[in-house]
Symmetry: C3
Subunit: 137 residues, 3 copies
Amino acid sequence: MVTQARFEVRTRGREVRDVTADVARVVAGSGVETGLCSVFIRHTSASLMVCENADPAVLRDMEAFMARLVVDGDPLFEHSAEGPDDMPAHVRSVLTQTSLTLPVTDGRLALGTWQGVFLWEHRYAPHRRTIVVTVTG
Amino acid sequence: MVTQARFEVRTRGREVRDVTADVARVVAGSGVETGLCSVFIRHTSASLMVCENADPAVLRDMEAFMARLVVDGDPLFEHSAEGPDDMPAHVRSVLTQTSLTLPVTDGRLALGTWQGVFLWEHRYAPHRRTIVVTVTG
Amino acid sequence: MVTQARFEVRTRGREVRDVTADVARVVAGSGVETGLCSVFIRHTSASLMVCENADPAVLRDMEAFMARLVVDGDPLFEHSAEGPDDMPAHVRSVLTQTSLTLPVTDGRLALGTWQGVFLWEHRYAPHRRTIVVTVTG
């Protein structure tokens, strides 16, 4: 049994967005009781992560860490046609996730209590981002 | 065909633990000959990685690298309610893996000769960590 | 329905290689219309990533960033039996991907327009690298 759906997230520029409910909706509609839920983002300058879902400071700290690790406008980067956030966005994507595979148990995402699924927009400008969810079981 | 099982690892605090045999046991019991084995950790302060399985120095070096990259008690971090290892544990998890998808061939994990599956505990204190294994084929 | 195939890439030493067409060929041959394509590399010193596929400068910048982050010959590393690129190769692998899960839609990889699938060789010397592709649906 395979169900596949897409949804779009309109980001407001660099930010982290909780998409757990959007993914859970596809799982609920799939009728799969035991199986897997694949989450895939069709971009290379926005990415996915599973992260702590309770304290907003965790997401701020995550952004602060990443911004210090991958410096916008770093003269190391040759590819800067779209601005100082262009190449850093690709690096941030590679250091995080483009695809996540989550277990489905009893018809629901079997995430831990403190786990959420997040889309991380790495570009400064607002973008439309497409996520593909595939549920199998 | 879908088989799903959970197992618990009691960590002794920050450490890397080989869980390859635990995962392989679920694959062996599944009866799946050709397919996939998904490994998922239900936490955001412990993570998974596929790493070299022969020389223990590799795991020590991995920890040394990560400890230097993500500094415990870094004043950058706002989220430190649970101590200096709290936010670094979340960052380490995001930089490594929460989910792994491994091929199953001839009824066994098709890992390379030097590959093992490891749980990385990022907190100082001992924890009970739950891993969900889903085998499909 | 499960199809599994392997292919080998002979790398010329440290480099990034586009393997999208090799993966797509397995998907095309599988007959799967809607499902998932798992890509797995059976090594711990070469890895996978989804990255921008249009401007070669992106791949050069990615390598430059990684080379600065994980310094070859770093005295921090104890495991250096095979040379200054030995332990850095393992770290680079852990910071990127060993497994990717890609959606299949209408019988094809549902990658975004600018996404390619790349093998990243982290060792200086040429190697034969094996990738396992599993298509389910």
